[in-house]
Amino acid sequence: MSNDSSLLSLILFTPLVGALVLLFVPKRQEDAIRWIANVFVFIGFLVSLPLWFRYDSANPEFQFVERLPWIPSIGAEYFLGVDGFSVLLILLTTLMGVIAVLSSWTAITMRVKEYYIFLLTLQTGMLGAFVSLDFLLFFLFWEVMLVPMYFLIGIWGSDNRLYSAIKFFLFTLVGSVVMLLGILAVYFYNYSVTGVYTFDVTQFHQLDIPFDMQWWIFLAFFLGFAVKVPMFPFHTWLPDAHTDAPTAGSVILAAVLLKMGTYGFIRFSLPILPEATIAFVPLVAGLSIIGIVYGALVAMAQRDWKRLVAYSSVSHMGMVMLGMFALTPVGITGSIVQQLNHGISTGALFLIVGIVYERRHTRLISEYGGLSKIMPVYAAVFLIMTMSSIGLPTLNGFIGEILILQGVFVVQKTWAFFAASGIVLGAAYMLWLYQRTMFGTVTNPKNENLPDLSMREFVTFAPLLLLAVWIGLYPKPFLDRLETSVDKVMMRVDSDYTPRFAAVMDVDAPAGAAGSPAAIAANGAARAGGLDETPAEAVAVTRVVAVNDDPGGPGMIEMPVRGGGRRIAAGN
Amino acid sequence: MLEITPLHYSLLSAALFMIGVIGVLVRRNVIIIFMSIELILNAVNINLIALSDQLQDLAGQVFVVFVIAVAAAEAAVGLGIIIAFYRNKETVNIDEIQIMRW
């Protein structure tokens, strides 16, 4: 394990430092401000790259851990650490940050300084939520994000920005303060059991909270996270916020902010409240499916380009939630991958709207048409991203959707049946949009001289295109990184689940106890000693199938486990 | 012959208190309202004295001294305030003290 003791802090605070530096740059030096913001956010991306290479995907523990006392009197700590979920989401965040900042170069012409300060602060807030392993710290960052986002919408947004901004803010706030109550309930319960005041999430992951209490806490968490996701019927802030936000704001909102909700579910709701999670599966799945179909249908009726994409988010995030609450490893894996995909493709779609909006200052679909002829490169990028969004194989969306639907299917066929209809509807509204904007003849004279993508604009798309194809063709590195994290969640929600990393676990651990948290801890301790010796033992111990020498995870053990898998819900 | 018990004092005090309260609620002249408040304070004083006597405890009487002193201070300050107000507004009708509302 190669843990740099302060890598996460570095990643976390680079954007904030950038914001602080910007504070001291004179307001009029707009280009300097732009350069500084771009440089800092790019450095932020660069320093996050080691996470990709150094993350040990065979290690079930949290990695790159940093732990300092923060508020000892209530047991809150500055406790950072990442696992597979957060690594991917952090990388997504830093990358989307670069893209968002870069895409704002010409789009933002007023109050430039404040704009970049808010954008960079937002970046730190989002990263903080992903790296925090202290629940209070998480909550702190979770709330911190709201303010810059509020300003991004409220100051640099379009027509109805004040309404949208306050709606976004209050809506998400309602959810999150209720969530805070839930957090405190867990906190005090933990105290009553262990006698220690702590917000340590890894400790919470080992709690066995009584079911009644779990039920209520789940509800509290649910409100907080579901608003952010957003799940039907808590989604109405989203179209407004998206529509009125500036392009970079929409991109960040879609690509990263929405992931907070799903991340919250997977990091907190599922492992801390496993029984309640199982009890709530029908509700969540139902809402997700409604969200999928409903979001798609409403998207189809939109006349506003951005609003259409916003509603498509509702649909896609419904898919993500459904996959997660299938509570199968495939479903959860798919759900995380789909989060990345949604970030990539919807982020790109918002950029795409942003580009014509910047040129024409209208988002009405009817204002456009025939752009293929005028802006061929733009049309090609849009096409690829449309295909990514509707889940065309070889592009990223497909991997996520197929994993989710497959994972859902084995649990409850009817869910998959309805959810898969999203595939058809998704194709319908996206292609219709594409046709209305890109195809046909140029009827609006204002469109005749629109310039095609500039080099800078193309550069904002390039990484997204690359990622879309990469995940589509070879998602293995991503899936590998999720493996142990998914297994850990699965072990919480399914006591019979045999994790894949069981193969590298302690030899003495009895098979039945392999899934217990204690065993993980023991294993973690054992592994701290040295990674290299374990695979050899592992081969001797259990049913190891193949040692894979993928560059992403040296020494990773793959093992398709057969055994008494418990069916979660009423599958037949 | 009726014996005057502490209860009687308390009843007197309560009556005085209510008179003061009603005075505060119904009178229109600020000065009279202020005097009603003084009535309330005196109700308190009677109560305290009677109880002090009943309990054979001096604290109650000490308390009364302080209340009287404070009432005097309040009277001074209060009348000053009312005069200041009167200078501006030329009225001490309480119904006209309503610039600030809602």
Binding site: W70, I71, P72, S73, I74, L136, L140, V144, L146, V147, G154, I155, L162, I166, F169, L170, L173, V177, V178, L180, L181, L184, A185, Y187, F188, S192 | G20, V24, V30, I33, F34, I37, I40, L41, A43, V44, L48, Q54, L55, D57, A59, G60, V62, F63, F66, V67, V70, E74, V77, I81, I82, A84, F85, R87, N88, K89, I97, Q98, I99, M100
Partner: protein
């Protein structure tokens, strides 16, 4: 109860003595150097600083002096610091305001210091008599301060209202105290607690309880005893309003906590219910009424009412954590509330009264620092991390949940969301609107210092609240729980 005074009594009274001396000196200086505003200002600041230092000097002391009339303990020290820091900030934000209003600062500072003195006694009083004296010292000073702008009808009116209603509520409070005295036979809080320990109840006791709650409720502006607050806050000079809304509230809370936690713990079941209702109604009415205000001061008044409701939650919980939560909240509250009023005070110019929301419009263009500061105060009042307000709310949440008052916590949650709406209206005016009115805004060094203190306080205790928590916890521990913590259901 040993008779007579000892040297130790005077030693422990050092802060109060210093403050009294300083206050008198201010008066003297005002006479000696009539046109030197800086002299009275300097003297006031010096007095407050020295007093503060003296208070800090008694950290860790836990004793009762003056024949059991005053307690010098962590709780008292904590509240004294709250009062002194707010007094300092109030003094700092005053000079420019007083200059614009063209009033003599000497007596003004004297009265501020007098009010402070009263509050110090409220913080350390453990006898109904001392508490009453302290309360009145404070109240009478405020009656005058509220009407300090003699030519202003609004100020006059505020003064009259505050005076009449204050005296009225004083009557109610005193009547309650007299009944309590009758039931228990003592004015000492410890004695009262002892007398009531048996748990006997009577009608008179209930009546006394309700009257006490009503009387104190008036001071902290809890609904339905809050009616005076918006009008007085609006009419009083802005720095006075600031001081009134922060320090008088903090001192009153100190008094409430003393009386109920130390004097009436055996009646906890009764007053918990009372305060539960009071808290819920107060925060709801305060927040909702604030939603549609267009006057900043009035809005902040309602907000202050709502905050009183929040803080009452700590009392409802009636545990060490609850008390600590209330203390933490009051401490962080001074920074955000005083800061907000400081910005409003700053907006007062010759041509602009500056207390309307629209006067904030375009502030970010004129005084970016003030706009940022106000943003932080608003976020803090709304309880958004990483500001101090969040940490305060966190403690209150925690106290409520730990004691099992989940529904109250939910009401609290809903209210904090509602409250954000009107705090955001302020932000909208400052940041999202560009029109500016009136002449340029000046920010003197004193005002700047006040703002900086407020900003630093609002942020520091949000990011690293440990110091504060420790003190609050320590101070609250002396009460013990009035009720056994109901474990989470």
């Amino acid at each position: 109860m040993p008779a007579g005074f000892t040297a130790a009594d005077f030693y422990y009274l050092l802060p109060e003595l210093l403050l009294t001396g300083g206050a008198l000196l201010v008066l003297v200086i005002d006479v000696v150097l009539p046109r030197r505003d800086w002299a009275t200002l300097g003297m006031s600041l010096l007095t407050l600083s020295v007093t503060g230092a003296a208070v800090i000097g008694f950290t860790g002391v836990d004793t009762t002096i003056s024949a059991g009339l005053l307690a010098i303990d962590g709780f008292a020290t904590f509240f004294k610091m709250i009062v002194i820091v707010s007094a300092l900030m109030t003094v700092l934000m005053s000079p420019s305001y007083l200059r614009v209003e063209a009033v003599r600062p000497g007596e003004y500072y004297f009265l501020i210091l007098c009010a402070t003195l009263g509050m110090l006694f409220m913080a350390s009083g453990v006898d109904l008599i001392t508490l009453f004296i302290g309360l009145e010292t404070m109240a009478v000073s405020f009656y005058i301060l509220a009407g300090y702008l003699k030519p202003s009808q609004r100020s006059n009116e505020a003064s009259v209202k505050y005076f009449l209603l204050g005296a009225f509520s004083l009557g109610i409070l005193l009547y309650g105290m007299s009944l309590l005295y009758g039931v228990t036979g003592t004015t000492s809080l410890a004695g009262i607690a002892e007398a009531l320990a048996s748990g006997e109840r009577s009608l008179i006791l209930s009546l006394a309880l309700v009257l006490l709650v009503a009387g104190m409720g008036f001071k902290i502006a809890a609904v339905p005893f809050h009616m005076w607050a918006p009008d007085v806050y609006e009419g009083a000079p802005t720095p006075v309003t600031a001081y009134l809304s922060v320090a008088s509230k903090a001192a009153s809370f100190a008094m409430i906590l003393r009386i109920f936690m130390e004097g009436l713990p055996s009646l906890a079941a009764d007053w918990q219910v009372l305060f539960w209702v009071l808290a819920a109604v107060t925060m709801t009415v305060g927040n909702i009424a604030a939603l549609t205000q267009s006057n900043t001061k009035r809005m902040l008044a309602y907000s202050s009412i709502a905050h009183a409701g929040y803080i009452l939650i700590g009392l409802v919980a009636a545990t060490e954590r609850g008390v600590a939560a209330a203390m933490v909240y009051l401490w962080v509250y001074i920074f955000m509330q005083l800061g907000a009023f400081a910005v409003v005070a700053m907006l007062r110019r010759q041509d602009v009264i500056g207390d309307e929301l629209k006067d904030l419009s375009g502030l970010y263009l004129r005084k970016p620092f003030a706009a940022v500061a106000m943003l932080i105060f608003m976020l803090s009042l709304g309880g958004i991390p990483p500001t101090a307000g969040f940490m305060g709310k966190l403690w209150l949440f925690g106290a409520a949940i730990e004691s099992g008052f989940v529904w109250l916590a939910v009401i609290f949650v809903v209210n904090s969301v509602i409250s954000l709406y009107y705090y955001y209206r302020v932000i909208v005016f400052m940041w999202l609107k560009d029109e500016t009115v009136g002449s340029d805004i000046a920010m003197g060094p004193a005002m700047a210092t006040a703002l900086v203190i407020a900003v630093v306080g609002s942020l520091l205790f949000g990011v690293y609240p440990q110091l504060l928590f420790d003190h609050a916890q320590l101070a609250a521990d002396m009460f013990g729980s009035a009720v056994s913590t109901t474990a989470l259901r």
